[in-house]
Symmetry: C2
Subunit: 348 residues, 2 copies
């Protein structure tokens, strides 16, 4: 079954979220597609209409400053000067590796498996990068990356261990990047309030928890010198007017945030129950995604694909499938139905 | 008069478009402010509503590919593979300088005066950068930048001269960047159709002609290897969903483009007549901005500022003031009135 999914297709869907490719690979699948291939909240933040001026005018530096103040408060960073804005944390990754190299780093290490872009961008910047499975393997390098909680397996790294690592690597002049893209789910403890010295960089994502991945917005919380350096490299007006408008509302909306946290926890429980019922073994996750480890991963991907449900498989870990959350009830029911016919192929 | 505008304020408004700062410097100015400090079309492209999914979902790679095909067609580039998308051309500048350095460049030159970010970003990347006033001064370096038509003075550089420069610098393995941010105004001839070899990079801006500076979108048109390299450095999902939606409509809308070109030419004529009537000397421009050269530049800036009209002055050229276009009739009339009272201070 799964063998009909060519290596080409598997490579092409490497990042999740590519429904265009999914339609090519599964041309007979029913529409609309259900995209579970990312860890993005399907319940998007209900922002007010974006004013025309946010599209038309250059983003006002004052609006970016205001968002930084709000972000510092929201994330618990020491000050707005500790925050840099970027059109997605993705774009900060190569810049951070470049800064580490300028400070003398030659080797990088990423606690792995993790979001693959960290290793790619650090290598592109010129570092020799090891993908280490053991946390202790990080301290020998000048540029260390930990995703916390980790994507795709939800692994949580202890705050004290990270602070010790930052001190160790900081003594050599290096950088420790803690990517907290999924931390709003409550699984791990943020280090945004623990910036001291100049070794620690915390990355926060806007798109995932707020379900606003299309606007492209991310934050670095770090020493003010590094924040200034990052923004100098990105240049003026790095973040779009619509992103500033939406995020300024969303970060201030504590009520939405806390009710969403509860809702996602319920959704995640429902997802896990559903996967368990389908006889699949869970290998971790956060409330925005669940990792399934099963020898039938490719077959499962193909089966769900033919039902118009896109999940995320991994070239390098052929037994893993990541499930994001469905949005509305109809999507849940289609998923449940498709999973039950995977267990009982005769029902397909 | 103008002396009340502090150096601090002058520095702070360095880039134009900063109404927040203008309000601080001119607290008594009438609202709404009229922002003439940028060269952005005040008649924004009338796009259809941006669908919620463009904000919520990761931008589809297929949508970016479609925009690249459309852009190649629209700009006359050889193929979609010759186009790289970026959240503003600003962000491409340091990357291009980095690529030039990787290819062996040590020195850069910018035909000046020009948009200041070219020199800043090339220096930041590690090049020694000369700001040369003579075109012939460019050919000795490994990284040359020409803004065509130039901002702020509208200087036009001949197509053949640029192609010769690209051949000369190309033989050394270097890069020539032609920033065509304002070329839609029709003043200069684009090089987008002349990409051959691997030395030439044409930058095109979306925000200026389409009046959509807030969405952050720019294009590099260049050799496919360089396009791939730029996109690898920007990483996946560099351009936002709203930017993809709006630009895909706008680039296909030939009718809007040609009528807008006429409208802007009329607006520019009206602006020039108005400035002339006010006794000011024009030193160049495009249909999106006019450069005035006058010993009273600081006083003029201050006078207009007190009338709630923001223009652009330049630290390094104290006699220059750049005027963008007003939007609607009321703005024109406020500008005319303010200019007339500058000529006759007794009427203030």
């Amino acid at each position: 079954m799964g063998e009909t999914v060519s290596e080409m297709a598997q490579a092409a869907i490497r990042h999740g979220g590519n429904l265009g490719k999914a339609r090519l690979v599964f041309p007979e699948a029913p529409e609309p597609w259900i995209d579970l291939s990312t860890g993005i909240n399907p319940h998007s933040y209900p922002h007010s209409p974006v004013p025309a001026s946010a599209f038309a005018r250059l983003p006002e530096p004052g609006a970016a400053d205001e968002l930084k103040r709000l972000a510092a408060d929201h994330f618990g960073a020491p000050s707005a000067g500790h925050v840099a804005l970027s059109p997605g944390t993705q774009m900060l990754m190569p810049l951070l590796a470049q800064i580490a190299i300028q400070r003398g780093a030659q080797n990088g290490a990423v606690l792995s498996p993790a979001y693959a872009e960290h290793a790619r961008t650090a290598r592109m910047a010129g570092l020799a990068v090891a993908e280490v499975e053991n946390f202790d393997g990080l301290s020998a390098c000048g540029y260390a990356v930990v995703v916390n909680p980790n994507n795709p397996d939800g692994r949580i790294t202890d705050r004290e261990a990270l602070l010790t690592l930052a001190r160790t690597i900081g003594r050599k002049g290096g950088l420790v990047v803690v990517d907290e893209a999924f931390i709003e789910t409550g699984a791990a403890e943020s280090l945004a309030d623990a910036i001291s010295g100049d070794a620690l960089v915390v990355l926060r994502s806007f798109g995932k928890f707020y379900g606003m991945a299309g606007v492209r917005l991310g934050f670095a919380i770090t020493n003010p010198d590094i924040a200034v350096e990052l923004e100098a490299r990105l240049g003026p007006w790095a973040v779009s007017g619509p992103a500033l408008h939406i995020a300024t509302e969303a970060l201030a909306d504590r009520e939405w945030q806390s009710s969403m946290r509860l809702r996602l926890a319920e959704d995640a429980k429902r997802m896990n129950d559903l996967l368990e019922k389908a006889g699949l073994t869970m290998a971790g996750g956060t409330s925005l995604f669940t990792l399934v480890r099963d020898g039938r991963a490719k077959a499962l991907f193909g089966h769900l694909g033919r039902h118009g449900i896109l999940t995320r498989i991994f070239d390098e870990r052929p037994n893993d499938t990541r499930f994001g959350l469905p949005g509305h009830e109809e999507e849940w029911q289609r998923l449940e139905k498709a999973l039950s016919s995977f267990n009982h192929p005769s029902k397909v």
